[in-house]
């Protein structure tokens, strides 16, 4: 638990709430499994009642019941849907097309330009010829499609030095690539990552360069702690500030969504 004045909450809960605050009422939003789903449905419960939420499974109009769904198609989220279609519909017609306002994805590794690796961990560079990773991860899933197509997307990731690297070994989902307007080369429908929300704070891309810099820290963290846990020389925004702590209402809404307390386990 974090040592703060207000009611105790975990770093994961702060991360979920900070992510949820990035999502606005009425938006068309897509969530992945786990943390990202909790953050998204927290937003819907707390301040975005008209959020048009979906999962890449093509599950529409539902809200999880009985706790964190085991997957985007889990019965916990399929039990009160208004529509079931398909992955091609959700990720293609609604996300890859550029129609979706915001998506939330996770990362095993993220770099200074918001490129995400969820494919594997290699010992050093992959090299000219592709080779299997030392540690195989979960692959791109729908995150690549969200990163290419959603008008903007949020990256949720535990703030650890090994995860925040100068350059990811493998780009599973494109951020700003080499920075600047490198994305333009590919004509992506989507605009790129608008924020990296971590267990310690919030990073946002700098104008022009699109290099991520420290925008805000949490009440329980600090600029120093964040710099120490970032694997590249992280720039600090001139307007860096502390993120307001969760309100009692926010915590209540989050914990209602996180019925099984996934975010309260340390």
């Amino acid at each position: 638990m974090s040592p703060t004045a207000t009611s105790a909450y975990t770093r994961q809960e702060m991360m979920a709430i900070a992510t949820g605050r990035e999502i606005h009422d009425g938006e068309l939003a897509i969530f992945g499994v786990g943390l990202s789903m909790l953050a998204g449905f927290f937003a819907q419960a707390n301040h975005a009642p008209n959020l048009r939420a979906m999962t890449e499974g093509g599950v529409y109009g539902s809200t999880p019941v009985g706790g964190l769904p085991w997957g985007i198609e889990c019965n916990r989220i399929s039990t009160n849907a208004t529509s079931f279609t398909s992955g091609l519909d959700a990720l293609g017609c609604l996300v890859g097309s550029g129609r979706c306002d915001v998506g939330i994805i996770g990362a095993a590794q993220v770099d200074k330009y918001g490129n995400v690796n969820t494919t594997g961990i290699w010992d050093g560079d992959i090299g000219d010829a592709y080779r299997a990773p030392k540690t195989r991860l979960t692959g791109a899933g729908g995150a690549n499609d969200i990163a290419c197509g959603a008008k903007r997307f949020l990256i949720m990731v535990a703030h650890e030095r090994k995860r925040f690297v100068e350059k990811v070994t493998y780009i599973s989902s494109p951020g700003y690539l080499e920075g600047g307007n490198a994305r333009a080369r590919y004509g992506f429908a989507g605009g790129g990552p608008s924020a990296i929300v971590t267990t310690l704070g919030v990073l946002r891309p700098a104008p022009e360069t699109n290099e991520f810099q420290l925008d805000a820290w949490f009440a329980f963290s600090s600029i120093e702690e964040i710099l120490a846990n970032t694997g590249w020389p992280l720039k600090v925004s001139a307007h860096a500030h502390v993120v307001p702590e969760p309100t009692a209402a926010e915590l209540a809404h989050l914990r209602k969504v996180d019925e099984t307390g996934a975010l309260r386990r340390q």
């Binding site: 890449e56 499974g57 985007i72 198609e73 079931f84």
Partner: protein, 331 residues
């Protein structure tokens, strides 16, 4: 009226699968509807060198990879969602026993759609500009790997985009909630990419949790997204997706999801799992006994049960299904 297509699982695997084939299943999600039991039977019949086409990994691919039956795979997602990494697949990839080609969860259904439409390529506006396009496990020396995801020029604007290779698997084993004896199939819950797969595959075997009278099909033709004209055979197998879930039928078996994935983390564990949960049953009844009546009852108490209500009155009793299956097999 065409003849019924009910087949035993063993017979369906005997007739429609072979070593080295391109095998697609469920167009599944890791927790949900997938013909997991078909994968168990592939192991029982010692199929090997399978080239697996799985939109997402599932416990079926996790098992086939962990047991060494699949040596190539193409996937969009390779984990088990909240259940974590897929240990069997992971071990096979890290050891080099299985070569895994990575795509995204949109790329896979688009490639199946391209196969269904018999297109030479499918336009790609995703996966481009990332290592999904530049790196190929099937052509490791090639960088950027344009034989995997090529570039194509839009003739209207001159703009360059990507091009996917269409997929036409030799066989698809597709799990559905309900099917009639001819193969007209109803899915409850997301289709994920079962519709596209049913048209892309050269052959389709339906694995259904329950068989319904055709009267049900004619009452709900708009629910029949897989018509019999694209189906070779229908296998009746309750809890066919276990330990995964089937909306309207049963929930995910959380404990066995962990047990199974735990076992698949080592080759010893995998051998033991195969002995206990793959080679141990003789038929549907002993398969259900293996899971255990108490657990079946628990899994069947799903919040989604109401989704099945409109169709219950047409469910055919197991004995009736067995009778029709015998007729079909002895033709």
């Amino acid at each position: 009226m065409p003849p019924p297509k009910l087949l035993s699982l063993a017979e369906a695997v005997r007739r429609y699968s072979w070593d080295g084939m391109q095998y697609a299943s469920g167009a599944a999600l890791p927790i949900g509807s997938d013909a997991v039991v078909f994968g168990r039977e592939l192991l029982r019949q010692k199929r090997k060198n399978l080239h697996a086409i799985f939109h997402c990994n599932s416990q079926q691919l996790n098992l086939l990879a962990g047991a060494g039956a699949a040596t190539r795979a193409e996937c969009g997602f390779t984990g088990l969602e909240v259940f974590g990494f897929a240990n069997g697949l992971r071990r096979a990839v890290e050891s080099g026993e299985l070569v895994l080609e990575d795509y995204s969860n949109l790329a896979m259904p688009l490639r199946l759609l391209g196969g269904a439409l018999n297109w030479p390529f499918v336009p790609a506006t995703v996966n481009i500009g990332s290592d999904l396009q530049d790196r190929s496990a099937f052509a490791p020396a090639e960088f950027p790997a344009r034989s995997k995801i090529a570039t194509v020029t839009d003739p209207f604007t001159g703009r360059q985009i990507g091009a996917f290779r269409p997929l036409k698997p030799d066989l698809a084993a597709i799990h559905v909630t309900l099917a009639d004896p001819l193969g007209n199939s109803i899915m409850l819950g997301t289709e994920w990419s079962r519709f596209e797969l049913s048209r892309a595959a050269k052959r389709v075997v339906i694995v259904a949790d329950a068989i319904v009278d055709q009267a049900c099909i004619r009452q709900f033709p708009n629910l029949v997204r897989i018509p019999e004209i694209v189906v070779e055979a229908v296998v009746y197998w309750p809890f066919a997706a276990w330990p995964q879930s089937s909306p309207g039928m049963y929930d995910v078996d959380e404990e066995h999801m962990r047990t199974m994935n735990g076992a698949l983390a080592t080759s010893e564990g995998t051998r033991e799992y195969v002995r206990t949960f793959v080679e141990s049953y003789r038929d549907v009844d002993s398969y259900l006994d293996m899971i255990g009546g108490e657990r079946l009852a628990l899994l069947g108490k799903t919040r989604t049960a109401f989704l099945l209500d409109p169709y219950r009155k047409w469910l055919l009793p197991a004995a009736e299904v067995a009778r029709r299956q015998q007729d079909a097999e002895t033709r």
